[in-house]
């Protein structure tokens, strides 16, 4: 089937929203229902949504809509983040980001080695499992109004750092794979670019935003602020993409610049319908990317695939659940942070695709890894909702029990 966009969009949107709502009714985050809608309508099952390879123009437009939708979600979350509060959690965020790279890397490497894969493949598997994608978690945080909690801010901060670290690992891998490019050189360049970018967003962004406010007041047309903000967000996303960061990190950095201004309330309300319509498309695409054909339990190969899938997924889950291991601050919900950091996304896919393109991964290994990545993306939010109201202190640590997840974290 190759449906035109004007039929494809309604079909996907309505299915996703209805499954999302049905999910909510049984206590599952809406985003999981939306991912299932993608799986259901995607190439593996019904096939209404074509795969990236076979999809034509409609698929391309659809992908752009989805990407912009996710950017708006992260922009809005940046908007709701107080920049000062965001910067205050840099210590726990760094701790979570670093632990959340080391453990999945080591576990992924170990499991791949146990599965009998070569050293270089095992290193790539480790790298593939490191990168957190904050999109799904952001959607759940938005749903449970958790983005301003200590856990929410730590997760968002860690996700930004994780993306920068992931970029560095990716640059290192590129340096290793590309003949002639020095590793230190590529990594150093990527690091400087990423730091300059985030520095610009955080320190000069607010000045730009002040200019937007002035122009909007001069025009007497409130809608101008939306257009200027949206354009700024797209530009920041494009720049982030150009230097190798995820677009959504750029959009988040753009949003951070608005936090201090009163007008952000109105902007916030204006972004809501855009998010309602566009963001589900991204989660649909995640679900649609699942390749289930290799997992037939009636064949020996299919059963082995299940073993590989299960062990890699456990490695991916345990690795990120350990990400708050080095956290000093005690009064935070470690389970929530671990689950929130669990979903892998774009960056993991970039690693997997790089592994495939240099013929390190076999096609079977590649589709297995994408399945593992999607599995973490479904399990993360399921777990996050379940553990959100758990006691915040680690039981063995002498901190008080605080059931309210909105308190500030001490840093």
């Amino acid at each position: 089937m190759d449906l035109p966009l004007h039929l494809l969009l309604p079909l996907l949107l309505v299915t996703a929203k209805l499954l999302g709502v049905a999910g909510r009714k049984v206590g599952v985050p809406a985003v999981v229902g939306e991912i299932f809608a993608g799986l259901l309508l995607g190439p593996s099952l019904i096939g209404a949504l074509p795969s990236e390879a076979t999809g034509g123009d409609a698929f391309h437009v659809f992908g752009e809509f989805a990407q912009i939708g996710l950017c708006i979600l992260l922009f809005r979350i940046g908007l709701e983040t107080d920049l000062g509060e965001f910067l205050r959690v840099w210590r726990p965020a760094t701790s979570v980001a670093i632990a959340g790279m080391i453990f999945p890397f080591v576990l992924g490497w170990g499991v791949a080695t146990l599965l009998g894969w070569s050293v270089m493949v095992a290193v790539f598997v480790g790298a593939t499992l490191t990168a957190t994608s904050i999109g799904v978690t952001a959607s759940v945080l938005d749903e449970i109004k958790g983005q301003r909690s200590a856990e929410g801010r730590i997760m968002l901060g860690a996700a930004v750092l994780d993306d920068v670290l992931g970029l560095l690992v990716l640059s290192a891998m590129m340096g290793m794979v590309t003949p002639g490019a020095g590793v230190a050189n590529t990594v150093g360049k990527a690091l400087v670019q990423a730091l300059l970018f985030m520095g610009f967003g955080i320190f000069f962004g607010p000045l730009i935003v002040r200019g937007f406010m002035a122009i909007t007041r001069w025009s007497g047309k409130a809608a101008l602020l939306l257009v200027l903000s949206f354009s700024y967000m797209l530009l920041m996303a494009a720049v982030a993409h150009a230097i190798g960061l995820a677009m959504i990190i750029g959009a988040y950095a753009a949003g951070l610049a608005f936090g201090g201004y009163e007008e952000h309330e109105e902007l916030n309300r204006d972004l809501r319908p855009l998010i309602d319509l566009l963001t589900p498309l991204f989660f649909i695409l995640i679900g649609a990317s699942m390749e289930l054909h290799g997992l037939n339990p009636l064949t020996a190969a299919g059963r082995w695939a299940w073993v590989v899938f299960a062990t890699l997924t456990i490695a991916a889950i345990v690795g990120k659940m350990l990400s708050p291991a080095f956290l000093k601050a005690g009064n935070v919900n470690r389970l929530a942070i671990g689950s929130g950091m669990m979903p892998r996304g774009e960056v993991g896919f970039v690693f997997a695709q790089m592994g495939l393109s240099v013929s390190l991964y076999s096609p079977a290994q590649y589709s297995m890894l994408t399945l593992v990545l999607v599995a973490t993306t479904i399990l993360g939010p399921l777990l996050l909702r379940r553990v959100w109201n758990c006691p915040r202190a680690h039981p063995s640590l002498p901190f008080s029990f605080r059931p309210d997840p909105g308190t500030k974290v001490s840093t």
Copy 2:
């Protein structure tokens, strides 16, 4: 230049909105400023926005965004239209629609004949000048809050009828040009389809909307109504397109079904940011489609082109200004209706392209006609804003002077 979408969108949006705001400051409708932004950045001048022929993926996505944006605008105007009030103006609307087809056709034919063009070309020129595109007028009505005035409702009703009539003329032309297809046959089929479609939208639409309300209440998630409505709008637009009507007529018919419900206020507010971001793209594309190369006044050919352009534009203007000529109701602003019906758009372009594709029009004649169409699209809103507060009665008719344009029309 072939800018990626994430750079192209900000550039176009910000330029268009700033020119729109600047236009407003000097008393010109925002839409005219936005069209000029398209002309400025389009292939004729700066060239940031590629033409349809050379534009790649970014242009395609851009076009889809623009189309959906215009649909949302018409949907929202349908939403604000009371279906009963809309149906009550059918008599003056029919009168305006029919006169607005006859006069431009005859004048276009006459001028083309005077210019020395062949009979068949002259017929096609007449047909090209008949079709009203309500998009631009709708935007101005939205700006001056005129969509509920008698004039606004007559124009909207006449535009719907005009689109149906245009479709019939187009079918007749197709029947004449395509060998073997009977004229009566194609016209009859088109008429039945158009009537079934509008009937469905007006009589069954409200039932569907009631279903949407029930599902939304059951879900407890207000955002679901937006998703369902947006999807319904896209489907209606797709069906309209499939049977040969303009997509925006389908979107308007979808909106009409919501008029009677209380929830439409909230929906209305949710659509506003979508319109703010997407609708300017459509007007940008209109401006970008202007081909100015042939109008160099330093060459004899260029001077003759100016003569052709001026006479055809005058025919196009006078033709539509005469559209309220047969109106019985006296207390309406005929100048406003004439100016509101003036902008030609998609349907005119369809005619022109058909004339080109069957080699009736030379490329020079084709680009001349598109220029005339765009000129009416700029002059219409300029005039509409200027005459909106004029006395409503025709000076020579014995009706009272009513400066308030919000009164109901007697039918």
